[in-house]
């Protein structure tokens, strides 16, 4: 056996237990940050390469972009944004002005990087550089309009100079421009959360809803989050969307300043490490989400996905993050939930009954086009989900709505009730016994709450007594126990209602038990004992030496 083979086998043996234990891999590394495309050597636009590209296209691209390349693939109508229609030859993320066709390198960059927040993945590790070029040449040659096919007839890209340093002065200038002369706030909102006055009525030139970017969410930048990317988008504009080109309106330096400002308001994620640990406070807990008591409380970011497990599903959720703070005193536990939402939706119309699986025209996911058919008119809402019984075995209720024998509670805050002065509390305490039946109110309604909306963000406080008499809800939020907890959220503007919502996985909430006095006594005793032992040993050793 050769040495290297032996080493490989031996290391395999040592790693065997890993294979077994590695089955639970947390989703920490799935953050879709855009990476820079590597410098590349372009291949020749030959018939041979175009032919090779066809095969790749059919396997990898056709299900979305379609046989005709016109976004006519079977999956296209379920996606938002809709896959690019190559037959128009119009692209958004590129280095040429407005509606000018992209350069080959632009096309290559998108295929390599992918586009965060869309169905377009990065093909970097799966397709070789040559293969990426082949499929690009195929797409251009087959689907582009005649006048856009010839690369020599395409306009030149913009020239991007060296980035000036990102100084506090530059950020400040960018801030002023953003809220002043450049008018960015009209769409992107005062805080840059994409909630400007005209944000939710915007349409692209094909009539589909077009939401301005929320700049605080660093992971959502489609063309990259770095100042250089932002500068480029501002210079070229994003054609077909509402984003104009600022190439003539703003100087080069001004565009860099705004790019720096936008970069500076991007939020970094702080995913919850293990548990949600409410902080102990001595006073009363106010229902005001802006109460200063929350300022000193640590927060956890909970990533949210669309609910895709049971029908009706949602794969285009608006709320992808819930920021959670929690406190408790001797009587109550309270949560402060904070999430971004471009508009407050405080009215509600009951949705029609959901389509029945197996019937004519049933689809597993909602069809999103034509976009006028998308439902609206629902309220914004948020819910804290907890197991009704603190589990006494590793088995938990299912994280989507629990089950008959393992029910869950929902502390269901509703924005329409929040605005209604006649109701006692905007939070309903519900019990859910599985997704097949809608949740029903528990016997005792004891959750209080209040939400406020400002600058594209909801903040809601929900609080409940630690102990309840009601057997249909968790009776004792007991210190020292790991209590399964999850979060749901609905954006009414996005047609989210019922099981069409954002959802999180299970986390655990732990209220720490107070340390008994004996623990300190034991510790002190032990330390004294060990010190005594040390003296004894030293003495012994020294006497032996002598």
């Amino acid at each position: 056996m050769s040495a290297s083979l032996f080493i490989k086998r031996a290391s395999l043996l040592l790693l065997l237990p890993l294979f077994y234990l590695s089955s639970v891999v947390l989703a920490q590394e799935s953050l879709p940050f855009v990476e820079e495309a590597p410098p590349t050597k372009k291949i020749e636009r030959s018939l041979e390469n175009i032919k090779a590209g066809e095969k790749i296209y059919q396997k990898r691209c056709l299900p979305c972009h379609g046989v005709k390349g016109s976004s006519d693939g079977p999956a296209a109508v379920y996606l938002d944004p809709r896959p690019r229609d190559f037959t128009r030859g119009i692209f958004k993320i590129k280095t040429t002005l407005l509606d000018a066709p992209p350069t080959d390198e632009d096309h290559f960059r998108i295929v390599t990087r992918g586009i965060p927040g869309t169905a377009m993945p990065s093909w970097k590790t799966l397709l070789s550089e040559d293969e990426r070029w082949q499929v690009i040449f195929y797409e251009q040659q087959t689907f582009f309009p005649e006048d856009r096919k010839d690369p020599s007839k395409r306009p030149a890209p913009i020239v991007i100079g060296a980035e000036p340093p990102m100084t506090p002065e530059s950020i400040k200038k960018g801030d002023d421009l953003f809220h002043g002369k450049a008018g960015c706030f009209v769409c992107h909102g005062n805080g840059g959360k994409g909630d400007g006055p005209i944000a939710t009525t915007m349409r692209d030139i094909w009539g589909n809803p077009q939401l301005p970017r929320n700049f605080t969410k660093s992971w959502q930048f489609k063309g990259g989050r770095d100042p250089k990317d932002i500068y480029t988008r501002m210079t070229t504009g994003i054609f077909a969307s509402g984003m104009p080109s600022f190439a003539t309106q703003l100087t080069d330096a001004e565009r860099w300043d705004i790019a720096h400002f936008v970069r500076s308001i991007q939020k970094e994620l702080k995913p919850v490490q293990s548990d949600i640990k409410p902080k102990k406070i001595s006073g009363t807990i106010s229902l005001d989400p802006n109460d200063p008591l929350w300022n000193s409380v640590d927060y956890a970011d909970i990533p949210m996905s669309g609910q895709v497990t049971v029908p009706p599903r949602l794969q285009t959720p608006q709320i992808d993050l819930m920021t959670v703070k929690a406190v408790y005193n001797s009587k109550e536990v309270a949560f402060l939930l904070v999430w971004d939402d471009r508009r407050a939706n405080t009215t509600h119309a009951e949705p029609p009954p959901p389509p029945v699986p197996g019937t004519e025209g049933y689809t597993t996911y909602p069809v999103l086009y034509p976009s006028e058919n998308r439902p609206t008119g629902y309220r914004d809402a948020v819910a804290v989900q907890m197991a009704v019984k603190i589990p006494d075995s590793p088995e938990l209720p299912h994280f989507v709505a629990g089950s008959q024998d393992k029910p869950v509670n929902l502390w269901y805050w509703k924005a329409d009730l929040n605005e209604d002065p006649s109701v006692k509390t905007p939070v309903e305490m519900l019990i859910s016994k599985g997704h097949k039946k809608p949740p029903v109110p528990t016997k005792i309604q004891n959750v209080m709450g209040k939400g406020v909306f400002k600058d594209g963000q909801w903040k809601a406080v929900l609080k409940r007594p630690l102990v309840s008499e009601d057997p249909t809800s968790i009776t004792n939020i007991e210190p020292g126990k790991a209590i399964p907890i999850a979060f749901h959220a609905w954006d009414g503007n996005n047609g989210e209602v019922g099981t069409q919502m954002s959802i999180s996985s299970w986390y655990f909430m732990v209220i720490e038990k107070e340390v008994p006095k004996e623990a300190y006594a034991y510790t002190l005793g032990m330390i004294i004992l060990v010190i005594g032992l040390e003296f004894f040993v030293i003495k012994k050793v020294r006497s032996k030496k002598v």
Partner: protein, 284 residues
Amino acid sequence: MNESPKKEFPIFWGCALAVLVVYLVFKFAAPVISMWIVGRTRPLPLPRTLMFIYTALALLGVGLFVTTSERKMDAFMAPVITFIGGGQGGIIAIIRMAVLVAFPLLIGWVTFSKAAPAVQYLTSIRVQHPTLPGKFEKLENPFRNPDDARLKKFAEEKGLGNMELAKVKEVFAEQVLAEGRGLFQINCRPCHGSRANSNGPMAWGFRLRPADFTDPGTIPTVVEPYVFWRINEGAFGLPAESTPWDSAMPSWRGEIPEENMWKIILADYDIAGVTPRMPEKHHE
């Protein structure tokens, strides 16, 4: 731990070095090696218990080695005794003092963490591949090796009457695969990703990651009916040891016709670039 060389290397430091090397190998080299062996871009996670076991084994080995003879034992203990006894000056005196102070504190800390109330966690190791229920075992993908009758029917429908059956089979396979890819991108892509590498946009919020089909530990290691079972029953069909409560996998029965499920399975393997395990043949 090699046999002691001719010129004596201090046994104590030799042993300390050996334990350190073992620790470093698992801390830094193992992640790299795991990527190399499995051919993935991310290292396999190394559980802390495993780290503990290997380090403990190394310590045990040292203990065995040292206690094989009186001479080794004395040689091993000599620097320890000198150190504890004191009398050395300079930096060593300071280190000695630090150790003498730190040791009781360490024991105190251990005592405190034992005496203070701990949170009750009830967790179990997740079984990734629970046993395939018997009723699924014998199923076969009707599209992987279509019989002549199916091919003839297909040829008729498509007006390929004169084509050789072998050629029809190719056209049939391509057609089925195309349908499967479309169905995969509609139904599975939100979580499993366009490339079937578990990077779909919906994977973001799920702590139990969707299966990465390009990983040799997922669909390549099971037979096709196993995948058929998973698509049919999803999270709700998993036994308790596979933590169904954390799984977002839908039960597609009643929503996706069975024929389409088999087409999706073909596409799963095709998109991920892997092949299913072949069922074992038994003697008649």
